[in-house]
Amino acid sequence: METKKIISGNFEVTVNIKVKDTDNTYLLRIKNPFIAQNFIPGQFVMIKPNFCCSDPLSARPFSVFRKFNENEFEILYRVCGKGTELLSNVKKGDYVSVTGPSGNGFKILNNKKSQNIYILIAGGIGIAPLFSLPDFIKNHIIKNSIKENEENENYDLEENNKIILYYGSKTENELYFRHSIHSSYDEVYFATDDGSFGYKGNIVDLLFYNMKDYCLKNFELKNKDKNNEEDKKIVFVNQEVIKSEENVSIKEQLNIQFYSCGPKPMLSNLINKFRDYSLDIFKKHSLQVSLEEHFACGIGVCLGCVIKINSNNNNNSDNFIFKRVCKDGPVFEASELYNY
């Protein structure tokens, strides 16, 4: 029998508790070594608590939140409908139907010759697929470094790899684990719409306010006089630099990866700002977003969860093709998304 990539069966719930200080957010722990050991951050599982019953009919998708130990993994979910309501009533020791790990997950692109900055941007419950990314990144870097140890004796892991979190929500108690999350990151920035925790306002605005400290700071030398001006000018500076050959080497030295998950308005805002600031011109500065859709099958056969992707094919009368969020995603490169 061939080994399967995805497991499906009824597995035991070992914990299902409401997260402290929240009204409707739960942490669910499920016993399954295969998923715990093999998932990639950004992948999801389909869960159906009422596996003998037809209403609600379909299983629901949930990002794998983290590996708890070799035998158990966790999901973080907010009660928002019939399916999650039912799930919140599941007791320790009950069995739920689980299929996963499914979907593609985030890709780590690190470059040993340059400085790597990983910037995670989460909105509310959108922290779920991003939560285990720092550990995943660190393991990835360490694995790669061991592989090429001889060449890179002088390579400083700590110095050359920074992981930064931007975490926003409507209000304080939707910033899950806000008091403990720092331990996984080099820097953490919070924002809430009502100002109850961190910066008052939009997390995407906060990110772009700081952006010149990341990808744009290397351009300060050439455009020193313009540096202190409004954000608007950064666009100008940025595009100027792209055209300038002498800065090519600077671009080569800096590898910034952005990863995001959150409500659709936040993601749209983020993606559009990336376009406005021409950050997608830097091919190395990729922005990966994890999207949410209603799934029926969750395995790629029903074609119910498609989204539009830019088409490279000139013969195509439309400018887009459909891709399945559940199978081709849920993580997509922002520059691929058509009119998101």
């Binding site: 009919l57 379909s58 209603h294 029926a296 969750g298 395995i299 093709i321």
Partner: protein, 318 residues
Amino acid sequence: MNAGILNKNDKDNKEEINLSVRLGNLFLKYPVMPASGTFGYGEEFFEIIDYSLFGALVTKGISLEPSKGNEMPRICETPCGLINSIGLENVGFERFKEEKINFLKKFNIPIIVNFFGKSIEEYSIMAEKLSDINGVSALEANISCPNVKEGGRSFGADPEIVYEIVSSIKNCSALPLIVKLTPLVTDIAMIAEVAEKAGADIISLVNTFPAASIDIDKRKFKLSRGYGGLSGPAIKPIAIKLVNDVYNAVRIPIIGMGGISSWEDAVEFFMAGATAVAVGTGAFSNPHLISQITAGVKKFLYENNFSNIYEIIGIVNN
């Protein structure tokens, strides 16, 4: 250890139960298969399960040209049901032949290719082209799609057109032909009889039921096209009745489907007159369903002292 030995004997006896069926010239080891459009081209499910207890592999409906499908949203859930409006998205004949069929061939399980056309001519062209592909075991003509020339009315709702499509397909293909009926007709038994007269080897039913759902806050249909096709347990009792209607009207075998989500459901379809069953929406939330049905039906036959599946087919009318 004794318990183990008993179980083994029990299993050996159960193995003598014969589940194989003959659908025209199509021989199936097991009378259970996926329903077209819920199984892709076989690649995705194989990442989760094995196909060893599948009677056949059934492809997504294929058309001459690739079809992009409908705008989103394409699916919504209703109590015990799922409404879909995918728009027959598929890779088209050429890509199916070049990229998709080879994967299906490696299992040594009969391959049923579902197809449709925009016109009667296109049905025959497709039938001819598909028959030339090595490895295709049977064709399933989906006659539920809209006939553009006739103002979008379903091909399958008009007995004259059903006769014409079926007979012209039979003229250009020697493969066993399954005709998949739409349930949205006044008298499904009559349509089935017409298909039989025109040369259909097998009837499959039912396709999904036209249905709609409305978001009262947005004051809009939930699906982009307004309506879609309803599947899932909600339609099972209607499907059982229609299968029985057709069973009493034709002599050719029937593949029954519509909301099957357990082996007990499958047994109902056999008793209503189906010679084989297909599973669609039910396998979305339980990928093991087809294998479980094959095992469950076998156990049921054994425990009720039947020796083969034919003993229960249409039993309600005996």
